[in-house]
């Protein structure tokens, strides 16, 4: 176990050497449950380059959202963070409150899943958009308001002046999420953490909002960590994908490679269990069983109980991460399996 750990962190080291914006090395997060620690995220290695979009894909409870929150220090009360987070060459883990705040104000911004819950319902849209600019960047209020209206126009809200005076309950979910995106653009961060930005929206507005987000961040050269359960969406918008299961990353590959030749049985399963317009099937294949949280997994590969390819070896210890034709995959049988990708 310890040998394996050394091995992975060596790899991560080499990754950050080529100037990654954000790199997570052996990141772990555990919350107290009675007298024990209950792990939610374990040994996550991930890096994001400048301007790069990385998708973190997994089912609910896989720890993907927690991973993103840990970067900003938004962990549950009493939680314990292990491993290392390095942002732009500076370690974030163990940083004091002031350093963390500086990071949040200008460099990393987060878009949350449910804008209706994540925007204060009793303050106006204008307040929401200008608050951070005025309080953190010391922009004078009239200028902040003007900038907010321009940002609203950027995200496709034309009657910004009027919207600024409205309250969240007067806007649709799609509009609110655009407001949230505008508020993130306002501080021009280097990295956007987008936590399921379209999941809470109507299907019809999902692709619109995602397109706006993707286009604007490319224009401004911002990197993005897209957290989603939707592998197809992630593949369409991101350069690289990481698949998470039970608190661990099981596979990392460039987006195109991952969809054509998945290396982990779980990734393949995710891809096959998704309906597609092109292929008519009578019944979608499903991954049997239910997804596990990190603390529910036993000693072996956490996916083994649901895996069609599991063998005796799979139940003995966590599978180490191995390099395989540019992919990083945590499956002992990755080399011998040929898995089905995009149909």
């Amino acid at each position: 176990m310890s040998v394996h750990k050394l091995h992975t962190s060596d790899k991560a080291e080499s990754h950050s050497a080529d100037g990654a914006l954000l790199s997570l090395r052996g990141l772990g997060l555990a919350v107290p449950a009675g007298k024990e620690w209950r792990p939610l995220v374990e040994e996550v290695d991930l890096s994001i380059g400048r301007g790069e979009a990385v998708g973190l894909v997994g089912e609910s409870g896989s720890g993907k959202s927690m991973t993103a929150r840990t970067v900003l220090g938004l962990t549950p009360p009493g939680a314990r963070v292990t491993g290392e987070i390095v942002f732009d060459g500076t370690p974030v883990t163990g940083a004091d409150q002031r350093a963390l705040r500086a990071l949040r104000t200008r460099r990393i911004a987060m878009i949350f899943q449910d804008p209706r819950a994540h925007i204060n319902p009793v303050r106006t849209i204008g307040d929401f958009l200008t608050e951070a600019m005025i309080a953190n960047l010391e922009v004078p209020a009239p200028e902040a308001a003007a900038r907010a209206v321009r940002l609203l126009a950027d995200v496709g809200i034309t009657d910004g002046e009027r919207r600024m005076r409205q309250y969240p309950h007067e806007l649709s979910g799609g509009l609110l999420q655009r407001v949230m995106i505008a508020s993130v653009l306002a501080v021009e961060p280097d990295l956007v953490l987008a936590d399921e930005p379209t999941t809470a929206l109507d299907v019809t507005t999902q692709s619109e909002v995602m397109a706006i987000l993707d286009e604007l961040r490319r224009e401004r050269g911002m990197a993005m960590l897209l957290i989603t359960h939707d592998l197809e969406l992630a593949a369409a918008t991101c350069d690289r994908l990481a698949v998470m299961y039970a608190g661990r990353i099981v596979e990392t590959q460039p987006a195109t490679a991952l969809t054509s030749t998945p290396r982990h049985p779980y990734t393949s399963g995710l891809m096959l269990s998704r309906p597609s317009i092109d292929a008519v099937v009578h019944r979608l294949p499903v991954i049997p069983g239910r997804p596990l949280a990190a603390f529910e997994a036993d000693d072996g590969c956490a996916f083994a109980p649901r895996c069609a390819h599991a063998q005796g070896l799979c139940h003995e210890g966590r599978p180490p991460v191995q390099e395989l034709d540019g992919a990083r995959v945590a499956c002992v049988r990755a080399g011998e399996l040929t898995l089905q990708g995009e149909s």
């Binding site: 990071l103 949350f112 819950a117 204060n120 319902p121 009793v122 303050r123 608050e131 953190n136 508020s183």
Partner: protein, 310 residues
């Protein structure tokens, strides 16, 4: 907003009308009818009885008498007291000042102590929270008159810091004399308000939009002020208003503990002396005040919470 206000005012008028009708009509439910009241324990001569019947228009139909009474009451004329041989409105206005001062003083105490303690307990877990919770539970279970009597025994009789009875002269004297009564009236309500405040601060702290504010690197003090406390203030202000309304009822008891000559003690004396004109008038004033405070609370709630206004 105007429509809402008009609707509420109409509702208020209906409630007051029904209340006034009941209060006036109750006189006729009494065994022996209104004469029994008006005569009290005296047995009048036929001339006296005839005079009273004429004075109170007892020979008119009931509804006519009610309408006359209500019409006078709206203009501030509640008739005259049988016991004091004085205008009821004069009797009340002399005493309303004491009651208003007492309720106002208590309101200030409740808001300052209750909201502060509740906010503190909400923001800080651990010892502060436990102490505030325990103290507020204890005060919640203690009736105002018991608090009053204990305060008198300890601070007025025992330590001699405060006068035992009487309302005092001038603003300073009033403030000093009414301190123990106001504390008495406010402790239970302050405890209640502290609990509500604590609960709503806790609830807001856990809200997603607070996480957003934190994720944007806003200073913690700003997050607390602009997002936690601003949002928590909505239920707190509502409950404060309702609590103030209940103080109006509570003042009846407290005035009696401290022998303050306010509306409440006038009310209790009038009941004991069967001075029905006074009883009717005080009830009407108390109910009106209670209902008005409730209306103000509703208006505040609507003004504070944009989700409520349309």
């Amino acid at each position: 907003m105007t429509v809402f206000l008009l609707r509420r005012l109409a509702g208020l008028a209906v409630v007051l009308l029904v209340a006034s009708f009941l209060v006036y009509g109750l006189l006729y439910l009494v065994p022996g009818g209104p004469m029994a009241f008006l005569l009290g324990n005296r047995s009048g001569t036929p001339e006296q009885i005839a005079a009273i019947r004429a004075q109170y228009h007892l020979d008119d139909p009931f509804l006519v008498r009610y309408a006359t009474w209500l019409g006078d009451a709206v203009r501030g004329d509640f008739g005259s007291s049988l016991v004091y041989r004085q205008d009821v409105s004069a009797l009340m206005s002399a005493r309303a000042a004491t009651t208003t001062f007492l309720v106002g003083y208590s309101t200030v105490l409740i808001v300052v102590v209750g909201v502060a303690a509740g906010t503190l307990a909400g923001l800080r877990r651990g010892r502060v929270d436990n102490v505030v919770s325990a103290v507020s539970s204890a005060f919640l279970a203690t009736p105002t008159f018991v608090i009053g009597v204990v305060l008198v025994i300890v601070f007025a009789l025992g330590l001699g810091w405060f006068p035992v009875f009487g309302p005092g002269e001038g603003f300073g004297g009033r403030l000093y004399h009414l301190t123990l009564p106001a504390i008495t009236l406010s402790l239970g309500s302050a405890a209640f308000l502290a609990r509500i405040t604590r609960a709503s601060v806790r609830e807001e702290l856990g809200r997603e939009h607070v996480e957003t504010a934190r994720s944007r690197g806003l200073a913690e003090s700003l997050v607390i002020r602009r997002h936690v406390l601003r949002n928590a203030s909505i239920p707190v202000i509502t409950v404060t208003g309702l609590t103030v309304a209940s103080l109006i009822a509570g003042s009846v008891v407290v005035e009696n503990v401290f022998a303050l000559d306010g509306l409440g003690s006038l009310f209790v004396r009038a009941i004991l002396q069967r001075d029905f004109a006074v009883v009717q008038a005080v009830v009407l004033v108390l109910v009106t005040a209670f209902v008005l405070v409730n209306l103000v609370v509703d208006l505040c709630y609507k003004a504070l919470d944009p989700r409520m206004s349309r």
